[in-house]
Amino acid sequence: MMRVAEKAKSEGNIKIVEDATCTFCGCLCDDMVLTVDVDAKKITKAKNACVLGKALFLNYEEEDRPFALIGGKEATTAEAVEEAAQILANARFPIIYGMSDTTCETQRKAVGLMDMLGGTIDSTTSVCHGPTGMALQGVGESTATLGEIKNRADLVIYWGGNPAESLPRHFARYAVTAKGMYTPNRKKDRTIVNIDVRHTKSVPVADIFIQVKPGADFELLWALRALVKNRHVDPNIEKKTGVSMKTMKDLVERMKNCRYGVLFFGMGLTMTRGRHFNSAAILSLGSDLNEYTHFIATPMRGHGNVTGADTVVAWQTGYPFGVNFSRGYPKFNPGEFTATDMFVRGDADAGLILASDPGSNFTQAAVDHMKKIPMIVLDPKYTHTAKLARVAFTTAHYGINVPGTAYRSDGVPIELRTCLDSKYPSDEEVITAIYRRVEQLLIAKKRSKGANNKRQKAA
């Protein structure tokens, strides 16, 4: 099922796959050289991978798990499809959540499934850069693909993010030590600034570290916007943010005078007090600076294909996440149709979790509700969510066993190569099978309803 021209050399049972893509984080590095022991079904080397990428590839093993579990008991994929379809077809307010670690091909089908069911679809975006998506709707953005940043940026500011640990090759491939067209001397041609509440592992590469008081990001951003526009700023701002006026003014001068500046921001802004206001403030700061020079402000996204999830949901519905179809058309309302809220409030009466583990990373109140309702899980691994689910499918790994598309955090789509077959079905195959069965069940339901109505009329 190789779709990309296979770029592999084989010798005996050893196969080398070049230009494979690591889907662990939003860097989506597509320069992996994988050495594969076909007989052992193991990846023995992952050249160019960072420590996380190595962990992803070298720990890969074909799990020896049942194809599916229903109520904790072993089942076939077909049996699990039947059970899952029954659950969904009989639910009144089902939700699909997750989607950040699967292909766009799967995501496209998943949105279709919810369109038909009249349920809700949400991705991990809502607990990552969902607030940035909301901020975009208010203020727009100035963004760029990472290559343009590599080629041109001479001022790179990281704010509220720790790429050294979450996007390990961000520095080397894109923004700090990368060699670009107008940055031939790599780091020497750039000034790196880090702004955070604590001294993370990303700070050492920075030329300037600015420590902001926790919860004061918005105030600092707003003061910088004012200073960029030469407006007066109350000196109390120093106490509020823990940053001196001198430091702020120095940063503003650097921002206005650089050739091509970038603000990369992380969840230190979206997950703290202010949320989408923080994102809107930093996006606005980036846009404002275009009065003086070329400037970019862009979020750093975590999971392999979380950007694909926003992208697909937006092109199919017009909205990026938190979309409900119960009226027969898409409605968008964060806080209502977002997964945390749907579970915490107890609205969802069935859930399909696609390649994500809210059972382990959602707030306890949400997990408590998941335990009460029938849950369906698709995941290559056994997860906390799988543990509490009514139906758990074991699926194949995207980017290892399954080809397809993933979007890098800057929106560049990449076609994934495979290196090993799997006996497990892909997410796409399972979702497609569920779709077909749900369709039959809904038609049958409508018919029996119609028949009932007729009978009642006759009576």
């Binding site: 779709r3 990309v4 021209a5 230009d19 597509d30 320069d31 766009c104 496209r108 279709g112 369109d115 038909m116 998506g133 975009l136 709707q137 208010g138 203020v139 727009g140 953005e141 100035s142 963004t143 760029a144 693909t145 990472l146 290559g147 343009e148 590599k150 080629n151 041109r152 060699k179 670009g180 107008y182 050739r259 091509y260 846009s287 275009n290 020079t293 070329h294 970019i296 992208t311 937006a314 092109w315 199919q316 519905t317 017009g318 909205y319 179809f325 027969g328 058309y329 898409p330 409605k331 968008f332 080809p403 598309t405 979007y407 929106g411 560049v412 789509p413 990449i414 076609e415 369709e439």
Partner: protein
Amino acid sequence: MGSTLRIVNGRVHDPANGVDGKTRDICIKDGKIVKSVPPKTKCVDAKGMVVMPGGVDIHCHIAGAKANIARKLQPDDHRRDIHRRMELEKINTRSGTGGTVPSTFTTGYRYATLGYTTAMEAAAPPLLARHTLEELDDTPVIDKGFYILMGNNVLLYKMLQEERHEEIRNAVAWWLNATKSYTTKLVSPGSDEPWKGHRNATITQLNDKIDGFEQLTPRKIITSMVNTVDDLGLPHPVHIHCNNLGHSGNYKTTLETMKAADGRRIHVTHIQFHSYGGKPDGEPTSKAPEIAEYINNNPNITADVGQVMFGKSTSMTADAPLAWMLTRYSNDKRWVNADTECESGCGIIPFAYQERVYTHALQWATGLELFLLSKDPWRMVLSTDHPNGGAFTSYPRLIRTLMDREFRKQQMESVNQRAVAKIKRGHHMEREYTLQEIAIITRAGPARILGLKNKGHLGPGADADITIYDEHEDKELMFSAPRYVIKDGRLIIDNHEFRNNHEGKILHVSPLYDEGIEDVIRPFVEDFYTIRFDNYAVSDHYAPRREVIPTTKQ
């Protein structure tokens, strides 16, 4: 055993075959138009109706990265314009949202509902071709293709700087193959380098030097691409968005650009936006007469108008400096900029054209002048640069404006009078487009300009993409609700009702090239892009249904 269909009793407008309103049968077999079908074939009775080929949109923005940011940016644009899911007998359609940038499914259904069966997405950065193709694959019913942005391509600049013309030809052919696109698009050639690298400046003269490329000027880029595409024999020539879009006095740049083609084929898009007189930074005036005259006299030139329609629009363009300039005139403070490495810029802003605003009224009137002064409808075709000048859903209104003199006069009276006063009066203002001319500017003409031999006409061998309208005094009504729409021989709209879903195909070119060129492109991509060269080209998987349109050399 294929499916057959016969359309009878309809008045047929098939300009490509010289049929102007004659009543005749149209026979369909296996998705194609044929000479005859067996007598017992199922019939569509088109008595009292007008039969035309399906509409062909030569220039719109419906899919890909920038359309999707525009969707994400503007929930306000579509939240009240819903598109419900339909449960049909055998198939469910998908729900979506409309507005000026509809979701993909809604885009497909709504084009079909207007009787359009082919649409070309006019601008995609090649690096993001997969995204465009994925969205087009989710755009039902219609056939579609897209143009790749090549006017600000850094590798081509390097080659052109060194006059490596042979390599340029091979590189362009490689790129068209790698992306499964239809032709090359130049957007404000030369403008990205100053925009991205030099404090948001732009370039204004065809002879200006381009930042960082001292030997290069927009003129050189234009000439090179005109020649390259012509030499490759692509079915559609280079598709050009001239420099200085929207600026007062830009008609000179437009004339110069057309002259630069030096007799070779060139398609100048949304030319209305490039037909202004006046001083730079002053109020624009209309130079439609000068532009129309030049085009009338030079058969190598084709153009689409890019009419402005009053109401909400979305300005989205690869011309990033333009969008930045427009933020000064927009009440909506949202602005999007999006740079694509080594290939393109992009700007998006929500916009609204208002009758009472001088500039907007002038732009509207300039577009109409171009239509009314055009002597050859085959070479000046209909577009609104959807959604820049207005949404494609406003085409029926535009058609009525062209066909109905009284309607046009009424509108003229209700817009900014100072702007209207600047428009040249004369005989042309009385002109009314005939049905035949409408058939040319909305289907036969665009199909011919695109080099789509099987589209835009109803002769044997053509794709059975057919629209049947009820005849009606009110042409807006007539063109907004066709009675029947047939795509690939299937009845999609049957007696005004949406009856069948359908998947159209991707139309793309595949010119020949010397594979040695990969050795030139590869190192550049590996140094200055962020994906591997071997991950650049899109695989067939992204265009599961497709048709390769041959070049003249194939």
